[in-house]
């Protein structure tokens, strides 16, 4: 209708002497990732989050140390004692545990490092200038994602290292080989959980025009999903409403299975279950028993003792896949939205 189809006929590189001087361009995202990473590491928010996370991990550890000592007498020789460092809080307030704090803080980290990734560039007026450099548009979003993940990986590794070091030095608990592997697996799953939130923050920064608004939405979602008093509680109520537990024992068990399915809609549930299975070799299943015979079976298994890391990984594999899919979904949405956006707001 308007114009004949455009037919670009790029000449073979040899035919254009002037162009020969130009080398093939390498990928652009490492440059962006390097700059963003150094920005993150120098930024105030990095230190604030570092301190918060460090304190959140160390305080329960400090108060929990006594309990671990007393525990150590009972279960001396247990291969999982080292991992108890991350799961034992002061007596009485059992939820004050390192793994619970990480589970709560990880989404915060993800959102905090991404909520202003794109709209911040827009606000500063750097976006048109940046995109007029010889990089692909997706280099920007990829680079920012990688940089955010790297910064968070650093913070998490440091915090875990401090906790582990505290345990080794003060409590004299040396980790066994499998303990270390379990810790690494837990670290990777935590990173995946953070990546999901990072991708979510990135999506917000693309879609929401103002950084302050996207921060509010991001932290609001975090409160709802990750804090036990909001989303999980509501979802719990909803699940009890949808799948009422009544009647005899077997019906109650069946209802519990349905309720768990609903609760697993939240990524925080997925992560909590995965985290528990990885840190505690005594966990042989993440699902509630759905029949009476299963319940009895489970009871026997628990008394049976610990499972190997491979078995634990098998248990949480569906959780990992679900988290991976959520991350991919958030990132893909952010990606598509950004590619379709006009450079001018």
């Amino acid at each position: 209708m308007t114009a004949p189809a455009l037919v670009a006929t790029p000449a073979p590189p040899g035919e254009r002497p002037r162009e020969q001087a130009f080398r093939r361009l390498g990928p652009g995202w490492p440059t962006i990732a390097a700059k963003e990473f150094s920005d993150h590491v120098m930024s105030a928010r990095f230190y604030v989050l570092f301190v918060i996370l460090g304190v959140a991990a160390l305080i329960p550890l400090y108060f929990g140390a006594e309990r671990i000592r007393s525990l150590a007498d009972q279960v001396s020789g247990s291969p999982a004692l080292f991992l108890a460092l991350f799961q034992v809080g002061p007596s009485g307030v059992d939820f004050l545990r390192a793994d619970v704090f990480v589970a709560m803080a990880a989404p915060l980290l993800g959102v905090a490092f991404a909520f202003d990734a794109i709209n911040g560039e827009r606000h500063e007026g750097t976006l048109p200038r940046l995109l007029s450099q010889p990089i692909h548009r997706d280099d920007l979003i990829n680079g920012k994602f990688v940089a955010g993940l790297a910064a968070i990986a650093l913070v998490l590794a440091a915090v875990i290292g401090v906790v582990a070091g505290f345990g080794i030095l003060r409590l004299g608990i040396a980790p066994g080989g499998e303990d270390v592997l379990r810790l690494v697996a837990w670290y990777l799953v935590t990173l995946l959980y953070v990546a999901m939130w990072l991708a979510f923050g990135l999506l917000l920064s693309v879609v929401v025009v103002r950084a302050a608004t996207s921060a509010l939405i991001g932290f609001g979602t975090w409160l709802f999903v990750a804090m036990p008093f909001f989303g999980p509680l509501l979802l719990n109520l909803a699940s009890q409403l949808l799948v009422p537990a009544s009647g005899d024992v077997s019906q109650q068990y069946a209802a519990a299975g349905g309720q768990q399915l609903i609760q697993r809609l939240l990524p925080s549930t997925l992560y909590r279950e995965a985290s528990l299975a990885l840190l505690n070799p005594g966990v042989t299943t993440t699902s509630n028993p759905t029949t009476l015979s299963q319940a009895i079976q489970y009871q026997e298994q628990i008394q049976g003792g610990l499972v190997g890391l491979d078995q634990s990984l098998l248990i949480i594999w569906p959780h990992v896949v679900a988290l991976l899919a959520l991350t991919a979904l958030c990132f893909a949405l952010a990606y598509v939205a950004f590619m379709r956006q006009e450079v001018r707001a």
Binding site: T2, P4, R129, S132, P134
Partner: protein, 380 residues
């Protein structure tokens, strides 16, 4: 790696590129004719196919370039050629389609129709090849406030994959060129708007581009700085064959620095040419003569009897020169007649000179001719 800096630019001694002849507007028919073609007809106009990549080495060349946002036509069938060593000024009001055009040239927005070639490449299909050869200063340019000006430029150098050692020297060079060397190590958030704009020009020059596209390059720079920057741009175009496309609404600046000017209104280029050409086309068919007379003296009576006389307007304040309009080509005769009258004692003459119509007038008349009110301006 001991590779030489990778970007080689055309030097004056180089053999001329194919197609590097100066073309004004659309070569064939009447871009210059003030015939207002109905838009519908225009839209169906066949667009000539783009040149093959080897032949089309014009820095900027577009045919029928069109951008629609739903029903709104932001850019409508733009035909534009910019040759090496030329400074082309794009004039137009806000929303006339200047920035949209520039974004299409950079491959940052996809055209709805027609084609563009920048440095021989299609911005839509080979945006990276275009972007590594084009320096771009966006309207309201921004930098990372927490970094120094130099660090910002260093980041640009990295994004252009310039070699580290060579780029440090290059950064220093462009900082000197825009007069920012002494503030380069301060944080950018301490810079004024004008300094940001200077840094933006340095940023655009950093990659040693073959084409420079500047969106409102001098709006926030102080008058003396503007002269420096315009000198710099003119030097780059003359000495190094850089093609520069700049958009501006500061008409006097455009007039002083641009070789050719395109008047942009409602997405269409309504006139292209040098300022005198445009004056000839859009201006009244008159010559303008300024006549200064002593004190309260009024030379109107004497002048109105002279050959070719059309009108005379007194200056705004007493003592200001009168502006006389005469038939085109009668300017010299009138001046001679005024001087003769002064010699005869009829007019107490203090000055007489011919004035060139300002781009301001041309612009306004061009818009009026197309039935487009130049809003925001007082029609004097």
């Amino acid at each position: 790696m001991s590779e030489q800096p990778s970007i080689r630019r055309r030097r004056p001694g180089d053999p001329p590129r194919l197609g590097a002849t100066r073309r004004v507007g659309r070569p064939s028919t009447g871009q210059m004719q003030p015939v207002a073609t109905p838009r519908k007809q225009e839209r169906g106009r066949p667009v000539p196919p783009p040149p093959s990549a080897e032949g089309g080495a014009l820095p900027i060349s577009t045919r029928g370039l069109t951008k629609r946002y739903g029903d709104l036509v932001a850019v409508d069938g733009l035909d534009l050629d910019v040759v090496p060593g030329e400074i082309f000024g794009l004039l137009g009001q806000n929303g006339a389609g200047k920035t949209t055009t520039i974004l299409m040239l950079l491959g940052l927005t996809e055209p709805s129709g027609g084609w563009a070639r920048v440095a021989g490449f299609d911005p839509t299909r080979q945006p990276l090849e275009v972007k590594r050869r084009v320096g771009y200063l966006p309207d309201a340019v921004g930098f990372y406030g927490a970094m120094s000006g130099r660090a910002n430029l260093r980041y640009t150098a990295r994004l252009n994959r310039l070699e580290r050692v060579a780029s440090e020297a290059r950064i220093e060079e462009v900082l000197e060129q825009v007069g920012m060397a002494n503030r380069a190590d301060d944080r950018v958030d301490t810079y004024s708007r004008g300094m940001l704009q200077r840094l933006g020009i340095a940023d655009a020059l950093l990659k040693d581009p073959a084409v420079l596209i500047l969106d409102e390059p001098t709006t926030a720079i102080d008058p003396i700085g503007v002269v420096e920057i315009l000198e710099l741009l003119r030097g780059l175009a003359r000495k190094r064959g850089l093609a520069i496309l700049l958009s501006s609404h500061l008409l006097t600046q455009v007039q002083s620095v641009c070789d050719r000017v395109g008047i942009f209104a409602a997405g269409r280029l309504i006139g292209v040419g040098t300022v005198p050409e445009l004056a000839l086309r859009f201006g009244e068919p008159v010559d303008l003569i300024e006549v200064g007379a002593e004190g309260e003296a009024d030379p109107s009576g004497a002048i109105s009897a002279m050959p070719g006389f059309r009108s005379i307007v007194a200056g705004e304040r007493p003592g200001d020169p009168f502006v006389v309009r005469v038939d085109r080509g009668s300017g010299a005769t009138l001046r001679a007649a005024v001087l003769a009258a002064a010699a005869a004692g009829t007019i107490p003459l203090t000055s007489v000179r011919e004035v060139v119509p300002s781009l301001d007038d041309i612009y306004r008349r061009a818009l009026e001719e197309r039935g487009l009110a130049a809003h925001g301006r007082v029609a004097a």
